[in-house]
Amino acid sequence: MIRASNLSKFYGGKRALGPVSFEIKDGETVGFLGLNGAGKTTALRIMACDLRPSGGTIEVGGVDAVAQPHEVRKRIGFLPENPPLYTDMVVTDYLRFAGELRGMSKAEVKRRLPEVLEIADLGDVASDQIATLSHGYRQRVGVAQAIVHDPKFLILDEPTRGLDPVQIVEMRNLIHDLKQNHTVLISSHILTEISQTCDRLLVLGRGKILGVGSEQDLATSETEIRQVTVTVRPPSSDDPRGQIRTVLAAVDGVKSVADPYEQGGGLAYALETTKDCRADVGRAVVQAKLDLLKLDYARSELENTFIRLVGGADASN
């Protein structure tokens, strides 16, 4: 378990984090979500014993990270935003070096290496110099160095940063595999990344925790404000826009109807609603003998929650 209590970090006189308190249970996959400068990287670096906190306590696996940083470092694998690579080295030599640095014997590294190469899917480039690898492979080598000593806790700071869509999917699958054997902490400002990989989210803004829980917990913990987009074929009447607007505005739960824009041969209306009223909207459109072309959420649940939480933090500051 990782337990942070009143954890804070100041750079000079400027607060980067805290005070924050949180707990991460063994086996969990927790996402640190926040905008740039929210304090995600600072929090992760403190947990990885790369930074000393200015105040508060942090325990990793029951060990005080400030009093016994070396003990904590043995239990943690850390992939920072920029993978810590020696580009002049061959992949296997680099992983051997990283393993030995973490206290593994040569025999242990030799036994573990094939497994790590397989998990990170680095078999094809095992004998290549790191300088010759693509960004995606370098990121994989970064993950491999973090897991080479089979740590209990794995900390990945923006693991999909700079990857192309195919590499992002591959990295997501890799993280999914790592979840089976490690407690994983991931930071990202990409909402879909976090929601698809993590069991629990920790939303940070301006160094403070704005929300903790699953995507669903966070979504239902606030007043539900949803956005629905409906696209309707305009009827052949004198005022088609006014007619559609009247129909939509009369639906139970619809707070406001925005001005329409043309989309795919129809008129698209963004509706702000107080509940999930997609069924009611669909029914109303059909009953008014209008052609329904498309009906969808304008934003995902998590995006709405995130913007609400972070927006609240900005407003309070």
Partner: protein, 242 residues
């Protein structure tokens, strides 16, 4: 000790793998060879001991010049390329990082010095000098190199900018070599102190260069290396885990 060995092997491998170490070695040895041919062996008939002394004078450029070039990037480059995070988040001490890197640089410098040994051997074959004179001279060159590397390593610990680290290292070595100029302008006891902390003239030029082994000079170089390595370790401690 184990961590020192791990870092030592990586750093030495980096010197041998990359063209950087070889380019420095080639340039230093080329210049040294030209100086040996053009200045040391010129001047007609002379005692071979005098020629050897002059040879060591010019050869001292190897540890001074290569020492700075081999050391200024040791820590600053790690920070600049973010690989320092791997060391910082591993269960190893700052002293182990510094010592592993220092010993690797010293080994590579020793290798460069060993390649230059053909010059005194040529003098020995054609003149009358003892093996002990050569060994003492090379021991002095290695000690001078150790002190220079430690100064460079300290400069490297100060900043992540490699250019600044190189300039600071070179400036410190130059000041310590020519501090006798300042010593000549002040009164004792400051004059004696400045004379004694000089990197080159007091402790190499007047002893090792002439084939004289003086314990006082050995202690000076060991103490200087220790002092700057300690500064590098303390600087790293202040920057790491802060």
């Amino acid at each position: 000790m184990r961590a020192i060995s791990i870092i030592y092997r990586r750093e030495l491998g980096a010197y041998l793998r990359s063209p950087y170490g070889w380019v420095i070695g080639a340039i230093v040895l080329l210049i040294d060879g030209l100086l040996f041919q053009g200045l040391v062996l010129s001047g007609g008939e002379q005692y071979s001991a005098i020629i050897l002394e002059r040879g060591f004078y010019y050869q001292s450029g190897i540890p001074l010049f290569a020492g700075v070039l081999l050391s200024f990037r040791l820590l600053s480059e790690e920070r600049q390329t973010y690989s320092m995070v791997l060391l910082n988040t591993s269960p190893i001490r700052d002293s182990e990082i510094v010592l592993g890197k220092f010993l690797a640089a010293l080994t590579f410098l020793g290798f460069l010095l060993a390649i230059s040994v053909y010059m005194p051997i040529l003098i020995k074959v054609n003149g009358k000098i003892t093996t002990a004179q050569i060994v003492v001279g090379y021991f002095g060159l290695l000690l001078l190199g150790a002190a220079t590397l430690a100064i460079g390593l300290f400069a490297s610990a100060l900043t992540r900018n490699q250019l600044i680290a190189a300039v600071v290292a070179a400036a410190m070595v130059i000041v310590m070599c020519f501090i006798y100029v300042l010593a000549a302008k002040v009164d004792p006891p400051l004059k004696d102190f400045l004379d004694q902390i000089g990197l080159f003239w007091s402790h190499f030029h007047n002893s090792f260069e002439k084939g004289i082994l003086n314990l006082r000079d050995v202690i000076y170089y060991v103490a200087t290396a220790y002092f700057f390595l300690l500064l590098a370790i303390k600087t790293l401690e202040a920057k790491r885990w802060q």
